[in-house]
């Protein structure tokens, strides 16, 4: 299945928005974290500034999010991992509340309690976790609920290639295949798990080859390309909706930034990211749209400005929102 014009435009525009979001965060995140405003001797202070704590950004990995989410409805579930923004944006999680959460504000998705690795948006059926390998079991559960209720909703678990060596991955694959759950496992192979290269952590080259061991189809997408992901996901989502069961998709994608912001990245060959950026999937899709007559300079400019404005508005909303009261920390252990 090839994407419609509307789907192509949506994927392009959403990738632009994700990239702008992540690049904005990369800048905002550094506020207050650098000398001379930090403890003497520090190069960086992770706990300072308006957005403290760890920050994992997904610039470069946009095709995985949009290629899959282009097929999803609001009643489909997405479970992400510790690098969740691209999935959240592609699933329709509102930018304002998501950003406010990362600033720890009372208006955030979790009233500031969760932070960037723990975004919960029940209205858009989105959640994520900072524990590697934790996305698959809950996605199986959402799929199980859909199946029990007889709806044709599906669930997607996104995770990195590093997560495929966790027991939870293998247990979930078996469970999903055994129970024919409408779930799609989507692995983003960005080559690294922090500093550990896939070749050091994984006994085979393609995780999608592991699908056969569980009796489900495995699809490998070799290009960090939204349309290629879209096509693979089309098959997998259709299979899940029809009740035929799960699929494992693995996409070779690229991480342009550090594992987390502040990562010295000494494990990377020099110049690697510059090379990766030459194959940027956003201008590539833009060129395709132009060839199809779906985009020209003016439209591109307008679309980019609109994305930038939405992102800027979200950061503005987050900054201006109030912090929760300290004692609010005691609320919400139970409801």
């Amino acid at each position: 299945m090839t994407p419609s014009n509307a789907q192509l435009l949506w994927m392009y525009q959403t990738m632009v928005e994700i990239r702008d979001y992540e690049e904005t965060m990369a800048k905002v995140y550094l506020e207050g974290k650098l000398p001379p405003n930090v403890q003497k001797g520090l190069a960086f202070d992770i706990g300072a500034g308006p957005v403290p704590g760890e920050m994992h950004l997904a610039a470069g990995q946009e095709p995985v999010a949009v290629g899959v989410c282009a097929h999803l409805r609001i009643d489909d579930t997405v479970v992400g991992a510790h690098r969740p923004h691209h999935f959240a944006i592609a699933k329709g999680v509102p930018l304002n509340e998501m950003t406010a959460e990362m600033f720890g504000k009372d208006t955030g998705l979790g009233r500031g309690k969760g932070g960037h690795m723990h975004l919960f948006d029940p209205a858009h059926k989105f959640s994520c976790s900072g524990i590697v390998g934790a996305s698959m079991p809950p996605a199986c559960g959402a799929a199980l609920a859909a199946k029990k209720r007889g709806t044709d909703a599906v669930a997607v678990a996104f995770f990195g290639e590093g997560a495929t060596n966790q027991g939870a991955f293998h247990e979930s694959m078996n469970l999903a295949a055994l129970w024919k759950l409408p779930v799609i496992f989507v692995c983003e192979d960005n080559k690294y798990a922090i500093s550990v290269e896939k070749s050091v952590s994984t006994s085979i080259e393609w995780n999608s080859d592991r699908a056969v061991a569980y009796g489900m189809p495995g699809i490998g997408v070799a290009e960090n390309d939204a349309v290629a992901v879209f096509k693979a996901a089309a098959t997998a989502v259709a299979r899940a909706r029809s009740g035929a069961g799960p699929t494992l998709i693995e996409v070779k994608t690229d991480r342009y930034l550090g594992h987390f912001q502040g990562d010295p990245e000494t494990y990377r060959p020099k110049g690697e990211t510059a090379t990766l950026r030459k194959n940027d999937p956003i201008p590539r899709l833009g060129a395709q749209l132009r060839e199809l007559g779906l985009l020209d300079d003016d439209a591109d400019k307008a679309l980019r400005k609109a994305a930038r404005d939405r992102v800027a508005a979200a950061y503005d909303f987050a900054r201006k929102s109030p912090y929760p009261k300290p004692e609010d920390a005691l609320l919400h252990v139970f409801i």
Partner: protein, 348 residues
């Protein structure tokens, strides 16, 4: 020779010296190689010892911690890093049902010389899954020695002791005292460390500071907070004695009792969860010895008030006891009315 080291440098030096001495010692964990450990506990070791002894693992905690147990049972001395203690959830069966119980179930017929080390603690807004201490959880389950250093000097000696111990040792370092270049830390944790190898026996608490009015029993990063609080309190005329537990298992009850007998007032400052944990255990040590300890005021506990660690800064600061909370609690202890019945009267 003595020089100042950060706690991270002290830990990696201890490991390096033991690895040089004993070919059976090796390290496994995520990002322990090129990265040198996310919290620099294995910094520089890959270059010294190569990748056969400093092994980057897949993100497969059950497999590599379990492999540590197997290698230890076979006589090797693995040091296995679980990056954040919070991740024990994915591999706890290997830890508490096997690492902790095998010696006992074998009737003492096997040795398990394994060190499981992990980063603990919050204070830098890493939220609920990356900020816990959890030492009391390990301590609650029999079969693991639990080591929680507060400074570089202790960390080196305790790590050497841990590697040489024939039992499983859980070695928990607080991220906020490792002296990392990317996280603010308490400078008191960076101190003078002899270059020559040395060990510090387990079960010996350290009196960090002698005092007459209040005993603060504490550990890990909270020791450094207590030191700052004690300085502030001293300026207000309150004399504080600080007991740094150093190991939770074994627990140095004698030192705790001796100190509280002297001061008559006990504040437990803890960064773990409040209920069913370390602070309750210390209070119980006193409660069980009230026939020989004359308290001048009820015991006070500071700990995380039974909520997950929230992300947002004001919330996190509220739930993790700060220097100001230690000061306030110590002041309240000293100001508390003396109990109606004194020990002498009871005994009379």
């Amino acid at each position: 020779m003595t020089r100042k080291l950060t706690m991270a440098q002290a830990v990696s030096e201890a490991i390096a010296q033991e690895m040089s001495r004993d070919p059976e010692v090796f390290v496994m964990g995520e990002d322990v190689g090129k990265y040198g450990g996310i919290f620099s506990a294995t910094s520089g070791l890959l270059d010294k010892f190569g990748k056969d002894r400093i092994m980057d693992t897949p993100i497969s905690e059950t497999a590599f911690i379990g492999a540590g147990i197997g290698a230890a049972a076979d006589g090797m001395r693995p040091i296995v890093e679980l990056m954040f203690v919070d991740f024990f959830g994915v591999c706890m069966d290997m830890i508490y049902n096997h690492m902790a119980k095998n010696i006992y179930m074998a009737g003492g017929n096997i040795r398990l010389p394994m060190v499981l080390m992990a980063g603990i603690g919050g204070g830098y807004n890493d939220a609920a899954q990356h900020s816990q201490c959890l030492y009391a959880t390990f301590a609650h389950m029999p079969g693991m020695k639990v080591v929680v250093p507060s400074n570089a000097y202790d960390a080196k000696g305790l790590m050497m002791q841990a590697i040489r111990d024939d039992n499983p040792v859980v070695f928990l370092f607080h991220k906020g005292i490792m002296g990392l270049s990317w996280m603010s830390y308490f400078e008191g944790s960076t101190n003078e460390v002899p270059e020559a190898p040395y060990t510090i026996p387990f079960g010996e608490a350290r009196i960090v500071r002698e005092g007459a009015d209040v005993t603060i029993v504490t550990l890990s990063q909270m020791v450094q907070k207590a030191v700052l609080a004690a300085e502030e309190l001293a300026a207000a005329g309150i004399s504080v004695e600080i007991v740094d537990l150093r190991t939770v298992v074994p627990l140095d009850k004698d030192t705790i009792l001796r100190s509280v007998r002297k001061t008559g007032r006990l504040l437990i400052a803890d960064e773990d969860y409040l209920s069913y944990g370390l602070s309750g255990e210390i209070a119980a040590v006193i409660a069980e010895n009230l026939d020989s300890v004359a308290l001048k005021a009820p015991i006070r506990r500071l700990a995380v008030p039974d909520v997950p660690i929230p992300f947002s800064r004001p919330l996190e600061q509220f739930v993790i006891p700060q220097v100001s909370a230690i000061v306030a609690a110590a002041r309240a202890l000293v100001a508390a009315p003396q109990p109606a019945i004194s020990l002498e009267e009871t005994h009379a």
